[in-house]
C-alpha cells in the first residue's frame, strides 16, 4: 500500500457536517427537505411490533393441542384486554369451568393446534428519532429518515459510553491536564456537558450524574473506573446503548492522560454554547468514534470551513501528531522526518518508522503505526 495507515481523529473549529437520522425500520418522516430543525425535534417516527407473550392454554385447561381451537373464545387477529377470558372449558357443571385470561392488552397473534401455544402481542412500541443537532434537513430518505446538515465546531473523541445528549458546554479546567474534581461540580452543572482536560474518575462522573449534568468530557479514564461505572468489564468496543444517565467521552484514551492543547482551546472557546454529543463508539469495520458537535449559534455568521491539513495525502513532514502507544503514549509532536526503510524497534519488530519532534524539542523514533495525525 502506498501509505502507512495513520488513523486520525478530527478536531476542528469549523466544518460542515451531515448526520443520518434513520429509523430502525420503515416509518413516517415528519419534516421536509429545507426545514430548519432543533436538536430535540422529532424528525421521524415509527412503531415497533409489540412484545409477544405465549400462553400455554393446553396445559392450563388440560386439553390436547388438536382440541385447542374449539375451546378458544377469541380468534387470530382479535383485540384482547388484560383479564379478558380467551379460552374456557364447557363442563356440564358450571362450577368446574376453567378459564384462561389474557395477561396483557394486545392482539391474538396465533393459535397453534400443533403445539397448543397461543401467542398474544402487546401494543406497538413507538420509536422516535430526534434531529440530534441544530441544522437543516438536506435530504429525506423516504419512509426511513433524514439527513441533517449543520455548521460548527467538531471534535472526535477516542472512546465514549452512553448515547446522544445535548446541552451547553461547561469548561471546568483552565489549562491542559486537569483532572475533574467532584468538588468542582454543583447544581449549576445541571443540564450541561462538563469538560475537564485530564482524568475523569468514577467519583467525578457519579457526582456529575447526581447534579444533573448530561455529559462528561475528559482527557482519559481509568479502566477500573469504567468498570465501576458500567458494572461490568467492557470486552468489545461497541458502545452507545449503555443506560448510565449521561454521556461520557474521553478524547485521548485510558489512563491519566491530558487532553490535546488544540482540543482544549476549541472546547474552551465553545464554553456556554449548545452542543450535541454522542458516546457511541465502534472500532470494527465502519469505525465510529464519539463526537462533540457545537453548531454555530443562530444568527451568527457561518465562517469558512477550516481546510484539512494533509488529510488523505498520507503523512508528511511537519504534520501534527499524537503518539498512541508506550513509551511516548499521549505525547504530542510533529513529524520531523520520514524514512521508507524498515527499521528494528526495541520489541524486535522490523517496521516502518518516523522521527517525531516533541513539543519540548526532544526527538524520538517511533513506529508509524503508533502515531495518529491530529486532523484539522
Amino acid at each position: 500500500m502506498a501509505h502507512a495507515y495513520t488513523p486520525g481523529l478530527r478536531v476542528t473549529r469549523h466544518t460542515t457536517l451531515q448526520r443520518d437520522r434513520r429509523l430502525p425500520m420503515k416509518g413516517k418522516v415528519l419534516v421536509a427537505q429545507g426545514d430548519t430543525v432543533r436538536r430535540d425535534q422529532v424528525v421521524a417516527r415509527t412503531e415497533l411490533p409489540g412484545n409477544v407473550t405465549t400462553v400455554n392454554i393446553v396445559n392450563r385447561l388440560g386439553i390436547t393441542a388438536e382440541e385447542l381451537p374449539s375451546f378458544m373464545l377469541v380468534g387470530e387477529g382479535d383485540q384482547v384486554t388484560k383479564g379478558q377470558p380467551i379460552a374456557e372449558t364447557r363442563p356440564f357443571i358450571k362450577w368446574f369451568k376453567s378459564t384462561v385470561e389474557a395477561d396483557i392488552d394486545g392482539t391474538v397473534e396465533s393459535i397453534s393446534p400443533v403445539t397448543g401455544q397461543v401467542m398474544l402481542r402487546e401494543a406497538p412500541l413507538p420509536v422516535e428519532v430526534p434531529a440530534y443537532v441544530d441544522g437543516s434537513v438536506v435530504d429525506v430518505i423516504e419512509d426511513e429518515g433524514v439527513v441533517v446538515e449543520t455548521n460548527g465546531a467538531f471534535v472526535q473523541g477516542i472512546f465514549g459510553v452512553g448515547g446522544e445528549s445535548w446541552g451547553p458546554l461547561h469548561m471546568i479546567s483552565d489549562g491542559p491536564g486537569q483532572a475533574l474534581d467532584p468538588a468542582q461540580l454543583d447544581d449549576t452543572c445541571a443540564g450541561r456537558i462538563v469538560v475537564a482536560t485530564g482524568l475523569v474518575s468514577h467519583a467525578a462522573i457519579e457526582k456529575a450524574r447526581q447534579v444533573g449534568a448530561v455529559g462528561v468530557i475528559g482527557g482519559g479514564i481509568r479502566d477500573s473506573d469504567l468498570r465501576q461505572l458500567l458494572g461490568y468489564d467492557l470486552g468489545v468496543a461497541i458502545t452507545g446503548t449503555e443506560d448510565i444517565g449521561l454521556t461520557v467521552i474521553v478524547t485521548e484514551g485510558f489512563g491519566e492522560i491530558s487532553m490535546a492543547g488544540r482540543t482544549f482551546d476549541i472546547l474552551k472557546d465553545c464554553h456556554g454554547l449548545e452542543a450535541s454529543v454522542s458516546g457511541a463508539t465502534q472500532i470494527r469495520a465502519g469505525v465510529q468514534r464519539p463526537e462533540i458537535i457545537v453548531p454555530v449559534p443562530e444568527g451568527q455568521p457561518i465562517p469558512e470551513d477550516e481546510v484539512a491539513g494533509s488529510q488523505g495525502e498520507g503523512m508528511q513532514e511537519g504534520d501534527a501528531l499524537r503518539v498512541i502507544r508506550a513509551p511516548y503514549f499521549g505525547h504530542i509532536g510533529k513529524v520531523a522526518s520520514l524514512t521508507a526503510d524498515l527499521q528494528a524497534v526495541e520489541s524486535g519488530a522490523r517496521v516502518r518508522v518516523l522521527e517525531v519532534e516533541f513539543e519540548d524539542g526532544q526527538k524520538a523514533i517511533v513506529p508509524r503505526a503508533n502515531v495518529e495525525l491530529i486532523e484539522e
Partner: protein, 611 residues
C-alpha cells in the same frame, strides 16, 4: 478445464483484499507473487471489485504479467498475459452470520451449530426448547438479531413434531429481518424432522424465504450435516453475497463459486489431513475473532480409524485488537499475568489493554509490550481451544455412527474428538503468530497455549494463504497441495512433550534423533524446557523412550517413533508436564518463565527478570 498453468486468487477480508498468483513451474505449482489493497465493501466505494482490482494490479506490477484488460480478467493465459482461472473467498462485511435453533440443546441444537460453523458461519446464537429461556425471551432474542439466515433443526425423522414446530412459531412471531436488503425475506433452512415439514411450511412459508433440507439428525446416533451445509453455501451466494455491494459482479468473474473464507480454510485442511493421513489442528487468531479448525480420525472400539472428521469453531470475541479486552475479561487477570515475566501493576495493564482495543492498529514498540501481547495471545488461544474441544465432540459427520447404548454411556454431549496426544500437525496463522518479530515466539505461544502432547510438528501459515488454497483445492487438488507444502506453510519445528507426573529435575524420557546428517540423543527432565537446533528443511525420525508412568503417545513407558521436521524452534523438549505446571508464587513463576524464555531465546538476553 483444459489447462491450469496460471491462477489468480483473492481473499476479500473485512479490512484487506489479498491477491496471490500461482504458476506452474515445471512439474509443480508455486505461489509467485502477491498483492494487497484495502477492501472496498463499505462507503465511499461500496463495491468489493475495486479492492480486488487494486490487489490484482499490485500483482501485475510485481510480476510483469498483464492480468487485467480494463476491468476484465484476461482468460485463458497466453504467454505472459492473462490467467487460466480467477477464484475468490470472502469474509467481507462481517462474513456469514447465522442463528441456529434446535430442540434439545445438547443434541439437535448442537448439531445445527456444528453444521453452520462448518459451513463457515459465525453463529450469533443457539436457541433450543430447553435452553432455559422463556418463550418471550427467545422471541425477543430472535427479533433483535439480524442474521443473514436461520438454520432450524429439531427432532429425529418420525419423532414428535410439536417441539420443532414450536421453535418455528417462535421464529414466525419474532418476524426477523435479514441484515442486508430491507425488502427481502429472511432465508430460513429447515433441516429437522421430515414429518414436521408441512407444519413448518404453514408457519414460516409466507413470512420467510423457507428452504427445506434433509434432517441433520435423522436418527439419534447419526449426524448428516452435508446436505444442509450445501444449502447454506447456495444461500450464501444467492442471498448474502448477492446483496453485498459489488458481489454480483465479482461472482460473474470467478471460475468457481466464491467460498466463505473459513469454509475454504477447512477445505484445504481436510485435503492435507486426508493426503498425509495425519490429524491436524489449525488456528487463525485475528483482531476480533479466533477460528480453530481440526481434522481428526475417530478411533473405533476395535482400534480402527474412521474417515477424518472436520470441525471448526469461531470464538467471536477472542482476538488481539478489537476483542483484546474481552480476552482479559474471559481469561481473568491472573491467567494473563501468569505469562508475564516481570512485575506489572494490574491497573496499568488494564489501561494498556484497553488502549490497544481503541487503537487496534498500533504495534508493540517496547519489548515489555510485546511480552504482554504474547501473554494475552496465549490466553486467547487457550480459550479458543477450550471452546473448540467443547464443540468438536462425538457424533460428527455422516460417516460417524455409534449405537444408541454408546450415546447413553457418555456424557450428554459426547467425548471431545480433540486428543492432543494424537495430534500430528499444529498450524497457526493470524497477525500475532505469523508476524511475531521472531518466529520461535510463535512456536512458544502455540506450545504454551495448546499444550500439545507426545510428538507434534509446529507450523505457521506465513501470509494466510490457506483460504486461497482451499478454494483452489476444489478446482485442482494437486495445485493446492503443491503450494501448501512449498509456499504456504513454514515449519517451525517439532515439540516433544511426555505426559506424566514427577519431581522437578528427574528424567521423564530419553530421545534419539535419526535421519538427515544429525544423529543426536538426550534426556527430557521434569520442569525443564530445552531446545535442540534443527535447521529448516530437516526431516527425520525421533524415538522417544518415556520413563515409567510417562506417556509420549504409545502408552505409559512405551517407546514411540515419530517423524520430525526442523525449523527455527528446532526440537522443543518440553518436560513441563500436562497440564503445564507453573509456580503459585509470583516471584518463582517469573523466574520459571524467564528460564523457559531464555532456553528458547525468545526475547533476546533482556527477557524478563534476571534469573
Amino acid at each position: 478445464m483444459d489447462k491450469l498453468d496460471v491462477v489468480i486468487a483473492t481473499d476479500c477480508g473485512s479490512t484487506t483484499t489479498k491477491a496471490i498468483l500461482i504458476e506452474r513451474q515445471g512439474d509443480v505449482y508455486r505461489q509467485t507473487f502477491r498483492g494487497e489493497a484495502p477492501t472496498t465493501v463499505e462507503a465511499p466505494f461500496e463495491d468489493v471489485t475495486r479492492g480486488v482490482l487494486n490487489a490484482i494490479q499490485e500483482v501485475e506490477e510485481l510480476s510483469g504479467r498483464q492480468i487485467l484488460d480494463g476491468e476484465t480478467i484476461i482468460t485463458p493465459a497466453e504467454g505472459d498475459r492473462g490467467v487460466d482461472i480467477y477464484i475468490s473467498t470472502s469474509s467481507a462485511g462481517g462474513g456469514l452470520q447465522m442463528m441456529v435453533a434446535g430442540v434439545i440443546q445438547s443434541m439437535t441444537a448442537e448439531s445445527a451449530q456444528r453444521c453452520a460453523l462448518g459451513a463457515g458461519a459465525i453463529v450469533m446464537d443457539v436457541l433450543a426448547s430447553n435452553d432455559g429461556r422463556l418463550p418471550h425471551q427467545k422471541i425477543e432474542r430472535i427479533r433483535h438479531l439480524r442474521p443473514d439466515m436461520v438454520l432450524l433443526s429439531g427432532g429425529t425423522d418420525g419423532g414428535t413434531v410439536s417441539h420443532v414446530v414450536e421453535m418455528a412459531e417462535f421464529v414466525s412471531a419474532a418476524d426477523p429481518r435479514p441484515r442486508f436488503g430491507a425488502g427481502f425475506e429472511l432465508p430460513v433452512i429447515f433441516a429437522g424432522n421430515q414429518d414436521a415439514r408441512p407444519e413448518v411450511e404453514r408457519v414460516l412459508g409466507e413470512k420467510t424465504a423457507l428452504h427445506l433440507s434433509e434432517n441433520i439428525r435423522p436418527v439419534l446416533e447419526r449426524e448428516n450435516l452435508g446436505p444442509a451445509r450445501h444449502v447454506i453455501h447456495d444461500l450464501f451466494l444467492e442471498h448474502v453475497m448477492a446483496q453485498a455491494p459489488g458481489y454480483r459482479k465479482l461472482m460473474s468473474w470467478t471460475g468457481a463459486p466464491i467460498m466463505p473464507t473459513p469454509a475454504a480454510v477447512g477445505q484445504i485442511m481436510q485435503t492435507i489431513a486426508r493426503q498425509q493421513d495425519i490429524n491436524v489442528l489449525g488456528v487463525d487468531i485475528g483482531g476480533a475473532t479466533t477460528d480453530v479448525f481440526s481434522v481428526f480420525n475417530v478411533i473405533a472400539d476395535d482400534g480402527s480409524a474412521s474417515e477424518p472428521v472436520f470441525n471448526r469453531t469461531v470464538s467471536a470475541n477472542l482476538g488481539m485488537s478489537y476483542s483484546i479486552s474481552n480476552v482479559l475479561a474471559e481469561a481473568t487477570m491472573d491467567n494473563v499475568v501468569r505469562w508475564i515475566p516481570f512485575e506489572i501493576d494490574e491497573a496499568d495493564l488494564r489501561d494498556r489493554i484497553k488502549n490497544k482495543m481503541i487503537r487496534p492498529t498500533t504495534i508493540p514498540h517496547m519489548l515489555e509490550e510485546l511480552q504482554i501481547e504474547h501473554g494475552v495471545a496465549r490466553e486467547a488461544l487457550r480459550l479458543a481451544l477450550v471452546q473448540h474441544k467443547d464443540l468438536a465432540v462425538g457424533l460428527k459427520g455422516v460417516q460417524t455412527e455409534r449405537t444408541l447404548s454408546d450415546v447413553f454411556d457418555q456424557s450428554a454431549t459426547g467425548e471431545s474428538l480433540i486428543d492432543m496426544m494424537r495430534l500430528d500437525l499444529l498450524v497457526g496463522s493470524g497477525g500475532v503468530l505469523s508476524h511475531a518479530p521472531a518466529r520461535v515466539q510463535a512456536a512458544a505461544m502455540m506450545v504454551d497455549a495448546f499444550q500439545p502432547e507426545g510428538v507434534t510438528q509446529l507450523a505457521v501459515d506465513s501470509i494466510f494463504m490457506m483460504p486461497h488454497l482451499g478454494v483452489l483445492s476444489a478446482v485442482d487438488e494437486r495445485a493446492a497441495t503443491d503450494v501448501f507444502e512449498r509456499d504456504c506453510i513454514i515449519y517451525l519445528g517439532t515439540c516433544v512433550a511426555p505426559v506424566g507426573k514427577g519431581k522437578p529435575g528427574e528424567v521423564c524420557a530419553t530421545w534419539e534423533l535419526s535421519g538427515g546428517d544429525a544423529a543426536q540423543s538426550g534426556d527430557i527432565r521434569v520442569g525443564v524446557l530445552e531446545q535442540v537446533a534443527l535447521e529448516e528443511g530437516y526431516e527425520g525420525q525421533v524415538a522417544v523412550h518415556p520413563a515409567k508412568g510417562w506417556d509420549a503417545g504409545g502408552g505409559p513407558g512405551q517407546e514411540v517413533q515419530r517423524p520430525v521436521r526442523g525449523g527455527v524452534a528446532g526440537l522443543l523438549l518440553d518436560g513441563r508436564g500436562r497440564p503445564l505446571e507453573m509456580s503459585s508464587d509470583a516471584g518463582e513463576r517469573r523466574t520459571q518463565l524467564t528460564q523457559w524464555n531464555q532456553a528458547l531465546g525468545l526475547y533476546g538476553s533482556g527477557s524478563g527478570e534476571e534469573a
